[in-house]
C-alpha cells in the first residue's frame, strides 16, 4: 500500500502519521502543500494534525485552498482513500469532502488528554480492525473540535451509519458526541482524536495500531 502524507506549514503530526503507516507496512511519501500533484499510484492520503497556516482565518481554511488540496479532492472524487486527523479533519470539512464544521470547544479551552471513544461502525477500511461497540483510548489535542452540522445532515450521518467514533465522555461539546465521521462512500474519514499517537507501546497504548494495520490489510487485498 502506498500512502502520501501532506505537509503544510504548521503541520506537527505529519511524521507521527507517516511512522504509524510505515510500521503497519505501508510505503509513505511526504508531499509538500505547494506540490500540485500526488505521486503515482497513491492509495491513501493522510492529512495530518497540527496548526496549518497558524489556524489563521478558520482552522483548516487556508490549507483547504492550497494547491495540493485540489489533488486531494480529485483523489477522493475518484474513490480514493483520505484520512484526516485533527487539523486534517478540519481541512477535510473546509474542502467539502466531509460535511459539517469544527467549532471552538464549548468550554473554550484547549483540551489535551487521552479520551475514550466508542467505535460505532466496523464498516469502513479504517475501522475494519475493530468491532462496533469497542471502546478505545486515543489522545485528543485541540481547541476547535466541537463538531457541528445541521439536523438534516446529522440524520443522514446516523441513518447511513457514517459516525465512525463517538466520545464516551464528550470533551468539547460535539453534537451527539461525534468524534469522527466517514464520507458517503466510506473512503474518507475525518476524526479529531489521534490514532497515530497511540500506535505503539512507547506511546502508552496501542489502540490506534489496528486502524493502520486494518487499512494496509484492506488495501493489500483490494
Amino acid at each position: 500500500m502506498h500512502a502520501a502524507v501532506i505537509v503544510f506549514p504548521g503541520s506537527n503530526c505529519d511524521r507521527d502519521l507517516a511512522v504509524a503507516l510505515e510500521r503497519a507496512g505501508a510505503r509513505v511519501s511526504m508531499v509538500w502543500h505547494k506540490d500540485t500533484s500526488l505521486p503515482e499510484g497513491v492509495d491513501l492520503i493522510g492529512v495530518p494534525g497540527g496548526f496549518s497556516f497558524g489556524d489563521y482565518l478558520r482552522c483548516g481554511a487556508i490549507a483547504a485552498n492550497s494547491p495540493i488540496c485540489r489533488s486531494v479532492v480529485a483523489h477522493a472524487d475518484k474513490g480514493g482513500y483520505v484520512l484526516g486527523v485533527c487539523n486534517g479533519f478540519q481541512i477535510l470539512t473546509e474542502t467539502g469532502l466531509l460535511p459539517g464544521v469544527l467549532l471552538r470547544n464549548s468550554a473554550l479551552k484547549y483540551v489535551c488528554k487521552p479520551v475514550e471513544l466508542r467505535v460505532e461502525t466496523a464498516a469502513s477500511a479504517y475501522t475494519a480492525g475493530y468491532s462496533a461497540g469497542d471502546v478505545v483510548t486515543f489522545p485528543i489535542a485541540h481547541h476547535d473540535g466541537n463538531y457541528h452540522t445541521d439536523p438534516e445532515t446529522l440524520r443522514a450521518l446516523n441513518a447511513e451509519d457514517r459516525v465512525a467514533f463517538r466520545y464516551v465522555d464528550n470533551p468539547n461539546g460535539s453534537v451527539e458526541d461525534i468524534a469522527g465521521i466517514v464520507s458517503e462512500n466510506r473512503r474518507v474519514l475525518g476524526m479529531m482524536p489521534h490514532p497515530e499517537r497511540m500506535a505503539e507501546p512507547a506511546h502508552g497504548g496501542t489502540d490506534g495500531a489496528a486502524m493502520f494495520a486494518g487499512l494496509v490489510d484492506q488495501m493489500a487485498n483490494a
Binding site: 478558520r58 460535511p99 467549532l103 471552538r104
Partner: protein, 79 residues
Amino acid sequence: MKARVHIMLKTGVLDPQGEAVRHALGSLGFDGVDAVRQGKVIELDLAETDAEKARENVTAMCEKLLANTVIESYWVEIA
C-alpha cells in the same frame, strides 16, 4: 477602492466566545446584556474602481474562502 466584509455566526449556531464575553460583562457589573455574538471584520484594499464589480469579486472571495457558509453569514460594504 476599499471593501469591508462582516462575518457572523448564523443564528442557531452556538457561539461559546460570545457567551464567555456575556459572562465577563455580567461579572464586571454590566447588567442587562441578554446575548453577545462575536464576529469578525475583514478589510480589503482593491485595485478595482467599479463598485459593482468590486462587490461581485468580494462576494466570490467570501463564498470561496473568507466565510464558511455552513455556519457563517456575511455582508459586504464597498467604500
